[in-house]
């Protein structure tokens, strides 16, 4: 076993848990201590996957950096030794248990996780370093300072088992961020938003999952929440992509007042195969560019503005088509008689232009009470435009419904 301990700079319970969820991308065993603000990652089993200790530690450091956190880390074969090294800037990683005692011998007593009274007492007896303490007979120490101290030292050195309950990341993701000072501008929201999206990215990597729907709510003091929902065409988990989409949406959103709190939640996840992330052939790459573009357009213009077209089985021209949110599988297209490119909502016309050819009789909808017996004509105006007209059989009135653009 090999442990990385991160001395967490965040000192709120939910923030520490979010950090633990984020750390799931590096280790399947993450433990936390919400009293000492420590986070442990067992990395012995993930070293090979990440390509060695240095690469892994760099990734963890880069990840913390993206979260805008400055944290110290310690690496050791026991959790307590890793915690001890994490409190010592620039401490070298200790990989083997047999090197541990020598590596920590020179550290000051004050870094040990013992009660201040015990440390003060030991100092009063003239001890200053960890090495001097470890040299003392254990039973004497236990008599003077209690079993707690000796058990701690045994766990520190790996002489006593130190079972820990791994942190289980929740099945649905909820993260809230409270502002110390209400955020007055969109810019003020972006920084924490990006940070919590990076946490989410770590969580998604840990679960080997992605998302297609993300909800963000902004809490105001005197107004109802502003809620945004982001839907992506393809499963996503890249923090910066999600950030760009949310930012686009946010800049188009009117916030009624300053923001006290951000709540981000994801209820559903999509399993993501590695191939979906890494192996693209050219067509997939083009498709990926296309769905990225759709997401970007939807984020700014709204879902309703980005439209796919579909057909409906109805003879009435204005009901023979529909807007679809996503591209449906292409059915074999039915054969249509000549139809104009532009469809208009029928508008009455006074001056009848020159009619070309024979009429097309369209009768449909009588069963729904909308009797619409119509004779359709192609017509040419004096200026040279091609129109699609119909004469309503019941009223003999003429309407313009299409234009051949």
């Amino acid at each position: 076993m090999l442990w990385v301990c991160i001395a967490s700079p965040v000192q709120e319970k939910h923030a520490l848990k979010a950090l633990a969820s984020w750390a799931g991308q590096f280790s399947s065993c993450v433990c936390l201590d919400a009293e000492r603000w420590l986070l442990w990652l067992e990395i012995g089993s993930s070293l090979r996957y990440f390509g060695g200790l240095n690469v892994l530690l760099e990734k963890v450091a880069a990840g913390l950096n993206a979260l805008a956190l400055t944290a110290t880390m310690g690496v050791a074969p026991t959790p307590e030794a890793a915690a001890l090294l994490a409190r010592q800037p620039q401490a070298l990683p200790v990989l083997q248990l047999e090197h541990l005692q020598r590596a920590i011998a020179t550290l000051p007593l004050t870094k040990l996780a013992m009660l201040p009274a015990a440390i003060a007492g030991l100092q009063a007896s003239g001890l200053t370093s960890v090495g001097e303490l470890l040299a003392l007979p254990r039973d004497a120490l236990a008599r003077r300072w209690g079993l707690q101290v000796t058990h701690y030292l045994q766990r520190l050195l790996g002489e006593r088992a130190d079972p820990r309950k791994p942190y289980r990341a929740p099945q649905t993701y909820h993260r809230r961020f409270d502002f110390a000072e209400p955020a007055q501008t969109v810019e003020g929201l972006l920084f924490p938003l990006r940070r919590i999206l990076y946490e989410l990215q770590g969580y998604l990597r840990g679960r080997d999952a992605a998302l297609q729907t993300l909800s963000v709510a902004f809490r105001h003091r005197d107004h109802a929440d502003t809620a945004l929902t982001l839907r992506t065409t393809d499963p996503q988990r890249d923090a910066l992509r999600l950030f760009a989409l949310l930012r686009e949406k946010l800049e188009r959103t009117q916030l009624p007042g300053a923001v006290m709190q951000i709540r981000l939640s994801v209820e559903r996840f999509v399993a993501l195969r590695d191939t979906q992330l890494h192996l693209w052939d050219e067509e997939q790459r083009q498709d990926a560019g296309w769905s990225e573009l759709l997401d970007k357009l939807r984020a700014r213009l709204g879902d309703q503005a980005v439209r796919r077209l579909g057909l409906r089985d109805d003879h009435r021209p204005e009901k023979a088509w529909c807007v679809q949110s996503d591209a449906a599988a292409a059915d074999l297209p039915p054969a249509f008689p000549d139809r104009p490119l532009w469809l208009l909502s029928p508008r009455p016309i006074e001056q009848l232009p020159q009619l070309l050819g024979k009429p097309e009789r369209i009768e449909a909808g009588w069963w729904s009470g909308e009797d619409s017996s119509r004779d359709y004509y192609i017509a040419q105006t004096a200026e040279g435009s091609r129109w699609w007209l119909y004469r309503e059989a019941a009223t003999a009135r003429w309407f313009l419904q299409g234009i051949w653009a």
């Binding site: 357009l297 213009l301 057909l311 050819g357 435009s385 051949w404």
Partner: protein, 212 residues
């Protein structure tokens, strides 16, 4: 407007014989896709609609085949599994007509922007990504700047880029690489090339409607 001159005047033989002397429209090779109309291809630099450059289309009135003139090029893009994006069209693009024109509906995207600015933004993003085969934008912009931005986006993405502008913009200059006025002609569509980067001006008549 200069009178149309569909055939370039031959150079004096002495000039043609000198190696290294290029005629204007041969100077910079223009990447293009066939319009599907032989006479129009012959007029346009590179032999078709320019790729990675902005084409400005100015119909004098609507309903004269101003979109139908693109149909064959758009159909070929769809055949190659590329997408066609209609940005801010003046009316509903009618699904049955698109299908009949050989544009499968999953290949067509209709962006209904709330304003001209959004429409330009959407067209610019789509062009820049190069994810679509062709972008058709209906614009009311009179200023130069939005067109310049589109021209740059078109260059970045290497798609076909068409902007439809109202006839009043004819009196302004334009940064588009290709500028074309479309006018009704008996049973046909009159296509007049007003400006062609790396090419020449001229006019042709095309038949774009099946019903004459």
């Amino acid at each position: 407007m200069p009178p149309p001159s569909p055939i370039p005047r031959p150079l004096p033989p002495s000039l043609q014989e000198i190696p290294g002397v290029w005629r204007g429209h041969e100077l910079a090779p223009v990447k293009a896709r066939s319009t599907g109309h032989r006479v129009l291809d012959a007029l346009l630099p590179g032999g078709g609609w320019p790729i990675g450059a902005l084409t400005e289309l100015i119909p004098l009135i609507e309903g004269i085949g101003e979109v139908a003139v693109l149909q064959m090029a758009l159909k070929r893009l769809c055949d190659e599994k590329r997408h066609i994006v209609f940005v801010h069209p003046p009316y509903i693009p009618y699904a049955p007509a698109l299908l009949s024109a050989g544009l499968p509906l999953p290949r067509v995207l209709w962006i209904d922007a709330a304003c001209d600015e959004d429409a330009h933004w959407a067209a610019e993003q789509t062009l820049r990504e190069g994810a679509a085969g062709a972008v058709l934008l209906w614009s009311h912009a009179h200023a130069d700047r939005p067109l310049r931005r589109l021209q740059l986006a078109a260059e970045a993405g290497q798609s076909l880029a068409f902007i439809y502008r109202p006839a009043v913009t004819l009196q302004h200059s334009s940064p588009a690489a290709l500028r074309i006025a479309l006018r009704p002609a008996p049973g046909a569509l009159g296509v007049e090339v007003l400006k062609a980067r790396g090419g020449r001006t001229g006019a042709v008549c095309l038949r774009v409607h099946s019903h004459v």
